[in-house]
Amino acid sequence: MTLSELKDILEASILVGNEHLNREFDKCGASDLMSDILAGLSEGCVLLTGLTTVQAVRTAAVAGVGAIVFVRDKTPPQAVIDLARTEGIPLLTTPFSMFISCGRLHANGITGLSGMR
């Protein structure tokens, strides 16, 4: 699905990266611990996290993550948004919890990092 479809499913707002709405996603990693994302097949995935520090964006840049969605209505500091703009990583925020966000994406065909459903 595209980032635009993912945004609608999660009733999310875009914080930065409107120009990437056509980016395609088929897998998701959900964690607040960044090494779990670095350990997985996270290239091109969407990352669901409650972590709003610069380390979420640096992890995404290093691992090749395609977009970050902050759960539970979290919004990161402006410095994090600025770094994401520099790195070309879209940031979104959803009102849903991690559990509900995962469930919505899974129900719409998104797989885990390994490709399993």
């Binding site: 090494s35 670095l38 992890t59 840049a61 290093v62 691992a63």
Partner: protein, 142 residues
């Protein structure tokens, strides 16, 4: 050919700048048009090592050496040191504090991630004196 060598300083407990050195290394490798999967493996190893140094190290240095056929990452710090390297290599084993976890680290995957993503990893450490990680990545000539 003379190897390209560049070093970056790592500051203890500087969680805002933590990871910058690895992003810099990633950008250098991208500018050399290296294979993107190789770049990703090197960046992940650099980042994990850098975070370990920030969390547990004193001040440290990350050095990248780009040579014919291989890339070397050295991450040295003069911090806490690792008491039991064998335990630290186990997935999930962590000595991270609550502060580290709030920053998104401390999953106990740092050294295991470096082992998986490097072609060679050596760890030298002494409790109270520091840690030296040496990683090599072999460049395919296919």
């Amino acid at each position: 050919m003379t190897a390209f060598i560049k070093s970056f300083s790592i500051k203890k407990r500087d969680f805002v700048r933590a990871g910058e050195a690895s992003i810099n290394v990633q950008n250098i490798l991208k500018s050399l048009n290296m294979d993107h999967k190789l770049i990703r493996r090197i960046a992940i190893c650099g980042y994990e090592g850098e975070m370990n140094a920030v969390m547990h190290g004193g001040d440290g240095i990350l050095t990248v050496e780009i040579d014919t056929g291989r890339i070397i990452l050295d991450i040295a710090d003069n911090g806490d040191g690792i008491e039991n390297i064998e335990l630290a290599m186990q997935k999930g084993y962590s000595t991270a504090t609550e502060e580290h976890r709030e920053m998104g680290f401390g999953a106990g995957m740092g050294l295991p991630n470096m082992k998986v993503n490097s072609d060679m990893l050596s760890v030298e450490s002494e409790k109270g004196k520091g840690t030296h990680l040496h990683m090599e990545f072999y460049v395919s000539t296919d």
